[in-house]
């Protein structure tokens, strides 16, 4: 295989050598002169850019410091709502759980009220006399719990 590749390479080069004199095409001198001046201009442009960057380097450090400062100042404000919950002595998960419990309890009471015959009496203002718990009190409590969770107060 390698010998075959070598043979192919040798033959290709021999064939190419026969055509080589006809392949030469020198560029017009004006084109070379243009390339030379473009190269010089590019060197100058890159050097000017490098110098600008060197001059800007101290400012870049200053800008980074300003950004860090701004982020540092903003951080406590962004954390306000969760901080309020934590200050209340319970986390958001615990408050949410409490609200779910309260909602379940009020739902149960509503169900029992609907099943009981004294609903009409309660609505007629006789609830206090029956000794039964106020059906709206637990609902109020559950809504208060939800409010705490949502508003963080």
């Amino acid at each position: 295989m390698l010998r075959e590749l070598d043979r192919l390479e040798r033959e290709a080069d021999e064939l190419l050598a026969g055509l080589a004199p006809h392949l030469r095409v020198p560029p017009p001198p004006a084109a070379v002169a243009r390339v030379r001046s473009a190269v010089s201009a590019e060197v100058r442009r890159l050097e000017a850019r490098r110098q600008r960057l060197v001059a800007l380097r101290p400012l870049a450090g200053l800008a980074a410091a300003v950004v860090l400062l701004a982020v540092g100042l903003r951080w406590p404000r962004a954390a306000t709502s969760s901080a309020a919950l934590l200050a209340a002595g319970e986390g958001p998960a615990a408050a949410f759980e409490k609200w779910v419990d309260a909602l379940e309890e009020s739902g149960d009471r509503f169900a029992s009220l609907l099943e009981a015959d004294w609903l009409l009496d309660a609505l007629n203002g006789d609830a206090e006399n029956t000794g039964a718990p106020d059906p709206f009190e637990s609902l109020d409590q559950s809504l208060q719990s939800l409010e705490q969770v949502v508003l963080g107060v």
């Binding site: 290709a12 026969g18 070379v32 243009r34 390339v35 030379r36 473009a38």
Partner: protein
């Protein structure tokens, strides 16, 4: 220029010494232009790509690690630019067409020393024109292989790397293309 001289020149060029970079332009323009012209078939495109090649050299030479393969690096840049140019041409739906510069002689660049007699110059120019026509009848990749091998001095293995094809394929294509080229060149002659 000997190897040590080229090393010194490249060291200066890496520091973006304008004189060193201009010297590289003088040294390699002829071969790079020849390759670009044979690949694109357009003198205008070849001139533009020649300039772009050396501008890229200026921008990238800081990262170039010289290990005695500057020519390989340079011709890879030029070959890639020529390929991009061909790709853009295809996207625009244009076919690479041969310019009249060699055909009509207007603006043609002599392929031989101008001190030789005008008759020899004319024959040489005609031969160059015929060869260019034959080259552009070849599939693009075959043409690339031949032109890269002739102008850049890249080995067939390096050419295979540039074109992302196996070495055996590169050699087989070169072989077939050169035979075809020689036959059509003889017929035309």
């Amino acid at each position: 220029m000997d190897s040590a001289g080229l090393d010194r020149l490249l060291q200066r060029a890496r520091k973006r010494d304008a004189q060193a970079l201009e010297k590289l332009v003088d040294m390699y323009s002829s071969r790079v232009f020849g390759m670009l012209y044979r690949l694109t078939g357009s003198r205008e495109a070849a001139e533009d790509l020649l300039q772009e090649t050396f501008l890229r050299v200026v921008r990238m030479i800081g990262n170039y690690q010289h290990a005695g393969r500057f020519e390989s690096w340079l011709f890879r840049i030029a070959a890639n630019l020529a390929r991009d140019h061909a790709r853009r041409g295809r996207r625009r739906g244009q076919r690479a067409t041969l310019e009249g510069s060699e055909r009509d002689g207007a603006g043609a660049v002599p392929a031989v020393d101008p001190r030789t007699d005008p008759g020899a110059r004319l024959l040489e120019r005609e031969a160059g024109e015929r060869l260019n026509a034959c080259l552009h009848e070849l599939p693009e990749m075959d043409r690339e292989i031949i032109v890269l091998r002739h102008f850049s001095g890249l080995s067939f293995r390096e050419i295979a790397d540039v074109l992302e094809i196996p070495l055996g394929t590169a050699l087989a294509r070169a072989h077939r293309a050169l035979r075809r080229l020689r036959e059509s060149f003889r017929e035309e002659s």
